[in-house]
């Protein structure tokens, strides 16, 4: 496992596309100490590494193809009522680059 340092936490935050202040970095490091301490309890479980990982609590999830039924789309005017900014009959997105 990667050693937890300020640099690792900072890089992790940047990969998640947000910045942490110095205080937030310190708080996160402190919280990691608690997490790793907690994770050590999992290590005490007998035969932990032989267990099959559990993703969902119910094994009966079924995926079926839905019937191809045509439905009315949302009315354009109704949809535009809900957006903060419009241009003609289109949703105006914020300028992202430049």
């Amino acid at each position: 496992m990667i050693k937890i340092t300020k640099k690792v936490i900072d890089t992790s935050a940047k990969n998640l596309l947000f910045k942490l202040t110095e205080k937030e970095l310190d708080d996160t490091i402190r919280e990691f100490d608690a997490i790793l301490s907690q994770m050590s309890f999992i290590g005490h479980i007998k035969d932990i590494d032989k267990a099959e990982p559990m993703t969902f609590p119910i094994g009966e999830i079924q995926t079926k193809m839905r019937e191809d039924i045509a439905v009315e789309p949302l009315d354009v005017e109704e949809e535009l009522k809900m957006v903060p900014s419009r241009l003609g009959n289109q949703v105006k997105l914020p300028k992202v680059v430049g």
Partner: protein, 487 residues
């Protein structure tokens, strides 16, 4: 007495008998919501609610929810109503569709009056981390009501409405229900569609609800349960008429508890109350025994839940980037990365950012085996042990919490390094997808506390039957601050 102070079934009868109108109920609900002093609400739907109520001139006996006002946690999509999940990142977001459960309630004639506060993005257990600040307990404003479904719980506890929608990933309905003297229900994972519920940790998330009686909880379950094609995790099993279970003696009578948890509770009133309820249940023909749940599995509950939920949340909330919906950065970004960085840095609170970092760290290729996968493996062992428990027993019965609602100044969502199974045992039901119900069981001074019961998957009916028996034993039906005389 005001009709809004009654249970759903009592209000329904009054509507059928024309003793009260839906419009009167909605207007009273709005008046009470306007006086809210607990920070329970995010958004209101007053105009639309009055419009719908005005058109209701008759309620038939089979239209049990028609004309009845309710509120929903602000992590349910509601068409045309700003929905932020109490996070700045979603400020200004107005969904274009209703969540499946909102749609079912609409069709049944229930009237949405307001949206309620929550811990930001439902990722907390105190009710203190929403973007509008702390939500307090109507029984004592110095105390928490618990989270994450804080506003929904406070709203029903003070009779602003007779029921509300919450959501439950770790205990987010059932623990607040204990602190608010309410019935709080988390159904089997897959029993009720989550389409339109903002995901936190989808392998554990369920719809949940607060009511003031077990019968009312069964009424809501009747309406909301059943398959929904729009949710791939929605079960194809037929749902049942859960009210029928309340009309006959409960056929399943084997209860067990974990003495190791009871022994860690220092609050004598809660422990005495628990053993008193057990004794009376035995008088009703139930058998009650201790079950020695392995201590190492109890100790692992908290880290397993936290690692899995943070990891799932990190992934789910990657779409909150300031472009598709919600907050719009004010700075002058030169690249799309800068734009999203600005939105996410300012849109999330420090608590949420910490949780995302923890989740992301657990999912890194170098760490995944030791953290995320290991937590998934532990989950399997814990759930296998619970399934062994259910081979011999029908229900797990435990106090909801080790104390009454804690003081706000003494509450925090920070991790602690010590074993913390007493505060986190309700998460067992989320790890295993089991249905779980909290009912009020007593008071310490004027502060309520509750008992929680968990059953096998899809055995909601028996759970309600046991809940009803506990309700009869304690006599605590339709409890509220109004009934208790608290202003």
């Amino acid at each position: 007495m005001n009709y809004l102070d009654l249970t759903i079934s009592e209000i329904h009868q009054a509507l059928v008998d024309k003793k009260v109108t839906s419009l009167e109920l909605v207007k009273e609900s709005i008046a009470r919501i306007k006086k809210d002093e607990n920070n329970s609400y995010e958004a209101t739907n007053f105009e639309k609610a009055i419009e719908i109520a005005s058109k209701i001139d008759k309620v038939l006996p089979e239209e049990i929810l028609k004309g009845i006002p309710y509120v929903a946690k602000d992590n349910y999509s509601t068409k045309g109503i700003e929905t932020t999940a109490s996070s700045n990142i979603l400020a200004g977001y107005v969904p274009t569709f209703d969540a499946e459960v909102i749609e079912r309630l609409n069709k049944a004639g229930a009237i949405l009056v307001a949206k309620t506060t929550l811990d930001e993005l439902a990722m907390g257990g105190t009710g203190l981390s929403g973007h509008k600040g702390a939500t307090s307990n109507p029984y004592d404003k110095e105390r928490i009501i618990g989270g994450s479904s804080c506003g929904s719980c406070a709203s029903v506890a003070k009779c602003d409405v007779p029921f509300s929608l919450g959501s439950d990933t770790g205990d987010s309905v059932r623990k607040p229900a204990g602190f608010g003297g309410l019935v709080g229900m988390k159904p089997t994972w897959g029993r009720i569609s989550r389409f339109g519920l903002f995901p936190f940790a989808p392998s554990m998330d369920t719809v949940g609800y607060f009511t003031r009686s077990v019968e009312d909880s069964a009424i809501i379950t009747n309406l909301l349960s059943g398959h929904d094609d729009k949710d791939m995790s929605s079960s194809y099993r037929e749902s049942e008429n859960y009210l029928e279970y309340l009309k006959k003696p409960n056929e399943k009578k084997k209860i067990a508890y974990f003495k190791s948890i009871i022994d860690c509770i220092e609050d004598k009133a809660i422990v005495d109350n628990f053993y008193d309820v057990i004794k009376k249940l035995e008088g009703e023909g139930y058998s009650v025994t201790n079950y020695d749940f392995p201590q190492e599995l109890l100790n692992a509950l908290y880290p397993v839940y936290m690692v899995l939920s943070c990891s799932e949340a990190t992934s789910n909330d990657a779409n909150l980037d300031g472009v598709k919906f919600g907050i719009k950065p004010t700075g002058k970004a030169k690249t799309w990365e800068e734009y999203m960085m600005d939105a996410r840095t300012n849109g999330f609170s420090p608590l949420i950012k910490r949780r995302f970092v923890i989740g992301s760290f657990s999912l890194l290729a170098e760490n995944q085996e030791e953290l995320f996968k290991r937590a998934q493996k532990a989950r399997r062992i814990i759930v296998d042990e619970m399934n062994k428990f259910f081979e011999k027993n029908d229900y797990l019965l435990l106090p909801v919490a080790k104390s009454v609602a804690p003081l706000i100044k003494e509450s925090s969502d920070k991790w602690n390094p010590h074993p913390n199974f007493v505060d986190n045992h309700l998460g067992l039901a989320n790890l295993g997808g089991f249905p779980s119900l909290t009912v009020p069981s007593g008071y310490e001074g004027d502060l309520p506390f509750g008992i929680n019961m968990t059953a096998r998957q899809f055995e909601e009916g028996n759970l309600f039957a046991l809940g009803k028996d506990v309700e009869n034993i304690t006599g605590l039906k339709n409890t509220s601050t109004k009934k208790r005389g608290i202003k």
